[in-house]
Homo-oligomer: 197 residues x 2
């Protein structure tokens, strides 16, 4: 089944109401648009643009993942996550994945493979998250940036699975990365990729 | 393994820079905070508050899901999703789940069960998504709100699985709902819940 694309809404006006960025990364550019919907109704729609993100799922071996425990200020909580970060200006998602893996965990990977793209926040943003699988790892030195409070954690896949079953994994990115790289879906994705050549 | 909670960051100042809300729902209240990190460094952190969200995974029978095709303005795309919406002021997540299911698809469910909570955007927001499973369905009339351009779609679980394997499911919520309610993890969650009583 293919999703038949609906008639799009028409943008009548756009106001930029906020921006937070630096030379490498757009954290958030917030827009308030006046739009006309498919029924002709006019309304205000708030949404933001943000640099895309990479998530990396690094396997030390078939059963062992390299994860991180990161403090997250908006939640005032420490969460178990996969290394991740923004795609900086001028770099490819693949380059960002290798860089973030090294900076956040110290590991370098001989093999980094693009697995999937998804939108994390479809009602609010165009942002894309690119999911990568990293294998054949070698350890090295981390390079955390000023906003990161991160500890590296080596985790067995079964242990992560147990944590999800106990509802202890709270980060959307971690749940999706588990689905795509550690569950039965992973083999289906590989098979489809091999079939399509 | 329990995530040892790290020392939190300290908020020094808060500025509310934008707000979009109505009487029932906070769409976004954007804050720019001045914070002191765990290393004593001072920096600016942008984040938003937003009403929590419910996603409902409705099973017509063991193999058949009720889904929706929804136009998403920030992406200018039509996506395959599960019914979902904000928890309105004064209502419980369970009430929101039943209401959104009925409004978006017309279906009412005799059984609506809370499955999981997760944070969709850990770097930007405190927002929580509550995932519900709905079974024993009866059909009825939809009640779409003015911003919704939605068609109801009955989808076989295996068909959804194929679409994920072909990388055609782009919405984070749909991927997570599939993981928690349609994959092997679902049975593990049930077993843990029964064990803990």
């Amino acid at each position: 089944m293919r999703e038949k694309q609906k008639k799009g809404w028409k943008r009548i006006d756009r106001k930029k109401v906020f921006e937070a960025k630096d030379t490498k990364t757009v954290y958030m550019t917030l827009f308030q648009d006046t739009v006309q919907t498919q029924t002709g109704k006019t309304l205000s729609y708030t949404h933001y643009r943000s640099s895309n993100v990479v998530i990396i799922v690094p396997f030390l071996d078939k059963e062992t993942l390299v994860m991180i425990k990161q403090y997250r200020y908006p939640l005032n909580k420490t969460l178990l996550e996969f290394p991740a970060g923004h795609v900086e200006k001028g770099e490819s998602p693949l380059h960002a994945a290798k860089r973030e893996l090294r900076e956040e965990t110290g590991y370098r990977a001989k093999r980094v493979e693009h697995i999937y793209d998804y939108h994390p926040s479809v009602s609010k943003s165009q942002q894309v998250v690119h999911v990568f699988l990293a294998t054949d790892l070698a350890n090295g030195v981390t390079d955390h940036d000023s906003t990161e409070d991160i500890d590296v954690e080596v985790v067995n896949v079964k242990e992560l699975e147990s944590m999800i079953a106990e509802k202890r994994v709270q980060n959307a990115g971690t749940l999706i990365a588990y689905l795509l790289c550690c569950s039965g879906i992973k083999n289906m994705i590989n098979r489809r990729r091999n079939e399509s050549g």
